[in-house]
Amino acid sequence: MSVRTTRAARPLRRGLLGVAGLAGFLAGWQLVPALGLVDPQYLPYVTDVLARLSEQLVDLAFWRRLGATMTSWAIGLSVATCAAVVLGTVVGLAPPLRRATHTTVEFLRPVPSVALIPLAVLMFGIQRQAALVIIVYASFWQVFVQVIYGVADVDAVARDTARSFGLTRRERLTHLVLPTALPYLMTGLRLAAAVALILAVTAEMVIGNPGLGRMIELSRSAGDAVGLYALVVVTGLLGLTVNLVFRFVERRALSWHQSVRGEETG
């Protein structure tokens, strides 16, 4: 019956709407230079940018650089996430620890990663590790804060239940605290993924190790606006892809959660 079709139609509709949103944006962009709001020399036409992009897509060198950037991104994000989940859980579960570390955390969080680049270079030279330090530092806090809040969000009755049945600390952690914090963690991850991507690119721009960021910097210093925006579009598309993956994971991991199931029955 209609059950199947509606279920199959939903992702399709979602996809179509999303594409429509993007298309609207691109059309708006095309209009800005077309209407003369900005000289096309500085903000080129979308059509030109996409044409350049399609040229890049068949260039192996482009993929190699993309690979370099994504490798930094993936390593940095994983390290930051693991550290943040562990530390965030520990700190979030122990109120005294939370109070004691509060000032230090708040002090360290706003330190801009770009200001740490010289230090990173001093420690690791002009290499990927220097970029990784920056990526990990910036994305760590995104997950950390979310985990701290998420871990504290455990329902009072649910916690009493776990305690009364004598669940061990570890069981409580895996079966109660982490599922409760999972929606927060997913948001933190999505935030961190974007931040890590931004910093992977920025670090390459500033430090100069190979990758998309260096290509952006090269296009920039050559005054090649079309090439520059083609690469900007690539970073945007990367962010989009990463988000699609996280959404997919979320829909499976959080199928029980109101935010996901609400849409199934609503």
Binding site: A158, R163, S164, E171, H175, H257
Partner: protein, 269 residues
């Protein structure tokens, strides 16, 4: 009758502190309970039954007085105890299936997979939810959720079982079945049970003792031994004149508990 004292509650007092001032939920409650007993607790709404249970279970720290279990003060939840919460909906974990919820507390018992499975299946069967095992709690009706919470406590096979209005959301017939299940757990496994209910007939039918709490300040208004024969059944026992007599007595006590409060109202804070 078993004699070893299981629970000793003395001058228990509990005040909920909050930034806006304290609320005294329990004034001064004392009683003891022997191992293997089935005690029902009744009392007006808001008199502190849930609070009392939480203190017994070691989930709340009393403001004053003593709660002792097996001679040692209760400082935290004991592994020999299981609780069925009044807010059954929130005590089930939405991320686990019904089976997962029931199985969860068994994980840290040293049981084989097959044993665990059998315990879960038996418990779900006993509450009539064998078919719902793969569902999630939020896919169940209120009464079904409540029965999952009961199944979880049953599967856990505790020595002490604490139940807070566990049958509030189920229909009359299911309720009767579950009452018999509780009696049967008590009789066959020698489980000690504390059972809070609002149904006076239920308290008399189930209990070996009924404790009536008064409110404001919460005290033990009456501690009544139920001298009905240990073998009970839904039709026969409820038809006994003694049963009617006892239930009328309890009813009167609750009335008194409520009236007493109404007569001597304390000024609002």
């Amino acid at each position: 009758m078993p004699d070893r004292t299981l629970l000793r509650v003395e001058h228990l007092r509990k005040v909920y502190e909050s930034t806006t001032g304290g609320v005294e939920a329990i004034g001064d409650v004392s009683f003891t309970m022997a191992a293997g007993e089935l005690v029902c607790v009744v009392g007006p709404s808001g008199c502190g039954k849930t609070t009392l249970l939480k203190c017994l279970a070691g989930l709340l720290r009393p403001t004053g007085g003593v709660v002792e279990m097996d001679g040692a003060p209760v400082t935290g939840p004991s592994p020999a105890m299981a609780v069925v919460f009044q807010e059954y909906g929130r005590s089930l974990y939405p991320w686990l299936t019904v089976r997962g919820n029931v199985e969860l507390p068994l994980r840290h018992k040293k049981l084989s997979r097959a044993q665990r499975r059998r315990l879960v299946d038996d418990a779900l069967d006993a509450v009539g939810l064998a078919h719902a095992a793969p569902s999630h709690p939020w896919q169940l009706s209120g009464g079904m959720q409540q029965r999952v919470a009961i199944a979880r406590a049953v599967a856990y096979q505790p020595e002490v079982l604490i139940m807070d209005e566990p049958f509030a959301a189920v229909d009359a017939q299911t309720r009767a079945d579950l009452e018999d299940l509780v009696r049967e757990l008590h009789a066959s496994r020698r489980m000690s049970i504390v059972f809070v209910t609002h149904d006076i007939d239920e308290s008399v039918y189930l209990g070996q003792r009924v404790i009536v709490l008064s409110s404001s300040p919460t005290r033990v208004q009456e501690d009544l031994a139920i001298d009905l024969p240990p073998e009970r059944d839904q039709i026969g026992t409820r038809a006994l004149p003694r049963f009617t007599h006892l239930r009328t007595h309890v009813y009167g006590e609750i009335q008194r508990a409520r009236r007493g409060r109404a007569i001597a109202p304390r000024p609002a804070p």
